[in-house]
């Protein structure tokens, strides 16, 4: 073991293969360009049938996170976070048909991402996990600008779930946060690239807006944020530690406001239109901003892991809260 930020050969081959597959799914069908989202069911099926969703089991969770990031860069959408990262890391031996929706049963009446297209659901119920097959009859799709298919249960009292995984809720929340952070890292990366390209082409006062230092500085800040999201996510996937998952989600979710404001600002009114594509990434970020309690909840969990008993946590003056020796 030694600090090395390069992908392993297996990870390189894997992501190369992923990118090859995704290259055929970069474009939106013309009749979907005006919609809030486009769910690419064909790509979803290809990812499943060609085994990509099991990459975390075969190659490790870093591969799963890389897959989530890569697919989140697309303007079409697929469900990968739950299927390729949460499921393999939480219930690796239990088959569960994708797309998978993640549901917190503390809030059964709220709307959930991917529910209208989901085949199955993983539910957090107290300290436990339950699984269920999603019956489309139970689901009502709702309109949202949040760039995902959103839906709610027609009658939440009649949700019937089974196959209890006792005591697995904390592990599910951990990997849910890693999946969120991975998806945000991919979406942020694509949104920054998209906006930088737009800033190079769009002229104002006779020059590209990207030539103004005021614009450049804020885009540079956005690039820094997207990169920070990426590395915290990959570290969380690599380590499998709850603290790292909380740090990754906390960082990503707290940065959304700045990212979305700046990126939309530089796309101007064009960014308000569905046709302009930016919203596919920025309103994914908005959607993910509040999951698993959002940045505030993740930050409290970070604090609990670092200062659950401050008096005991104070070590010698030469020690550090993130003890790099361990």
């Amino acid at each position: 073991m030694a600090m090395d930020f390069s992908l392993s050969i297996d990870e390189q081959l894997f992501i190369s293969s992923v990118e090859s597959l995704l290259s055929d799914h970069q474009e939106l069908p013309q009749n979907s360009r005006s919609k809030a989202y486009y769910f690419d069911s064909q790509l979803q099926a290809e990812l499943k049938n060609q085994g990509y969703l099991d990459a975390a089991i075969e190659l490790g969770p870093v591969a799963g996170a890389l897959l989530v990031m890569a697919t989140a860069r697309l303007s079409p959408i697929v469900e990968v976070g739950a299927s390729a990262l949460v499921r393999p890391m939480v219930i690796p031996k239990q088959p569960l048909e994708s797309p998978i929706v993640l549901i917190d049963m503390a809030e059964p009446r709220r709307t959930y991402r991917f529910l209208p297209v989901a085949a199955s659901a993983l539910l957090v119920k107290g300290d436990d996990i339950e699984v269920m097959r999603v019956d489309p009859v139970q689901v009502e799709e709702v309109d949202s600008i949040q760039a995902y298919p959103y839906g709610k249960f027609v009658n939440p009292r009649e949700i019937f779930s089974c196959r209890l995984v006792a005591g697995g809720a904390s592990r599910l929340r951990q990997w849910w946060r890693v999946a969120i952070a991975a998806e945000m890292a991919g979406a942020a990366d694509a949104a920054v690239d998209f906006t930088v390209q737009f800033a190079k082409e769009r002229e104002v006062l006779g020059r590209p807006i990207g030539s103004f230092q005021a614009v450049q500085h804020r885009l540079s800040q956005c690039r820094q944020i997207a990169n920070g999201m990426r590395w915290l996510t990959l570290r969380a996937a690599w380590s499998g530690e709850v603290k790292d998952a909380n740090l990754a989600a906390c960082y990503a979710q707290q940065q959304v406001g700045k990212l979305v404001f700046d990126l939309h600002q530089f796309n101007g009114a064009m960014g308000l239109t569905n046709e302009h594509l930016l919203h596919f990434w920025t309103y994914r970020l908005r959607a993910l901003q509040n999951e698993v309690g959002g940045a505030y909840s993740a930050a409290l969990d970070v604090a609990d892991s670092l200062w659950s008993d401050v008096e005991e946590s104070i070590r010698g003056a030469n020690d550090l809260i993130f003890d790099v020796m361990s």
Binding site: M1, A2, M3, D4, F5, S6, L7, S8, E11, V196, A199, K200, P208, G210, S211, Q213, Q216, H217, L219, S220, Q221, R223, Q224, N227, G228, M229, W231, L232, L234, R235, W238, S239, N246, L247, A248, C250, Y251, A295, Y296, A298, A299, L300, D301, V302, A303, D304, L306, W307, V310, E311, S313, I314, A317, N318, D319, L320, I321, F322, V324, M325
Partner: protein, 380 residues
């Protein structure tokens, strides 16, 4: 991909920590740290500390064997930097010696210059200061005005002034950038003994601790031609080389996490550590400091692999500055006595963090470099 330390790296960190514990005096944290590492007393102490560090094989561990090192790795150099920063940098200005002044001398120095200076640096006995910035030349270094003009017998006559020159009052030598020609880039580097007649140093009181801000005046200072480092008028090459050795920067996130831990302990003592708003703020700052850590480690990893310098170094610096500024806000909002003498160690951290967006390339310069290097944006 691997975010863990090797056994060898862990052993090296343990070795560095053990050495620090052994070498620092008992009152280090109470007396020395609050004064800050550029204070005259601490600069003098660095001669003792670094000499002992050298005896333990840790001062220039990463240098080549022929210059007194052990050919240690870049990661080991960085681990040492983290550990030193975490305890208040007892090497004082000698961290510059080992990180970039020595290696730059190895690259550009004559045999005589290497003989004259490298052994002193490797022994931990010499203190250097960096004579780059001037009242009218900071970020735009090429506009510096201090000049060196050829004089009789191949010597040079230096006139002008430098500013913000940390450690200058106690320094033995100055790594001095001067104008030797009329065009912007006609700059040269001289290795100047600070004991020469015509050099005076004046401390500048300020928000940062004493010793960090000095002004150095050069009035008809005669230096031997042998003091020229590299070719005449080609000092820019030397500076660029030196700066890329420092591309990783000071690991401010590392000490920031330690400070955050200490502040939370203070808040616990006054019954505020359970306040959810405070805990959430602290958790968010911790996540930013960790992002800064990973972005910095990425740059070290690139250096290990001998990849060319990239905008990732600028991204790491921006990330660190933003995290540190959040931490300063947090401290000053929730620790009321932080700047009134009640918490000297914390005050030192705050005061030394105030210029975090200015030193070693301003925050705005870093953003410029990200825009051009990472985003491909050009200014018109």
């Amino acid at each position: 991909m691997d975010f863990g330390w090797s056994e060898k790296q862990l052993a090296f960190r343990h070795r560095a920590r053990s050495a620090i514990r052994e070498l620092l005096p008992a009152d280090w944290y109470d007396v020395a740290v609050p004064k800050s590492y550029a204070h005259d007393d601490n600069v003098e102490f660095s001669r003792v500390f670094c000499s002992r560090l050298a005896e333990l094989g840790l001062l220039v561990h990463h240098w080549p064997v022929e210059h007194g090192g052990a050919a240690g790795t870049d990661w080991e150099q960085f681990i040492l930097a983290e550990e030193m920063k975490a305890v208040g940098e007892p090497r004082a200005g000698q961290y510059m010696n080992v990180n970039w002044i020595g290696p730059t001398l190895m690259k550009f120095g004559t045999a005589a210059q290497k003989d004259a200076y490298l052994s002193g640096i490797a022994a931990g006995s010499s203190v250097w200061c960096q004579g780059f910035s001037e009242p009218g030349a900071g970020t735009d270094l090429a506009s510096l005005l201090t000049s060196a003009k050829e004089a009789e017998g191949g010597s040079y006559l230096i006139n002008g002034s430098k500013i913000w020159t940390s450690y200058a009052r106690k320094a033995d030598f100055c790594f001095l950038a001067v104008r030797t020609g009329s065009s912007r880039k006609e700059i040269s580097i001289f290795l100047v003994p600070m004991s020469l007649p015509g050099i005076t140093v004046r401390g500048i009181p300020g928000l940062v601790k004493d010793g960090h801000l000095n002004e150095v005046f050069f009035t008809n200072v005669h230096v031997d031609g042998a003091a020229l480092l590299g070719e005449l008028h080609r000092g820019w090459d030397v500076i660029q080389y030196a700066l890329q050795l420092e591309r990783v920067g000071v690991p401010r996130y590392h000490v920031g996490l330690k400070i955050l831990d200490s502040v939370m302990a203070d808040l616990k003592a006054i019954g505020r550590a359970d306040d959810k708003n405070i805990r959430a703020r602290a958790g968010m700052i911790a996540s930013k400091l960790e992002a800064a850590r990973l972005l910095t480690y990425l740059v070290v990893d690139q250096r290990v692999k001998r990849e060319p310098p990239s905008a990732d170094a600028n991204i790491a610096r921006v990330s660190t500055v933003e995290a540190v500024i959040d931490l300063l806000d947090f401290i000053l909002e929730f620790v009321p006595d932080a700047l009134t003498g009640e918490r000297p160690e914390l005050e030192e951290y705050i005061r030394m963090s105030i210029p975090s967006g200015i030193t070693a390339g301003t925050y705005e310069l870093q953003l410029d470099l990200i825009a051009s290097g990472a985003l491909g944006l050009e200014r018109k």
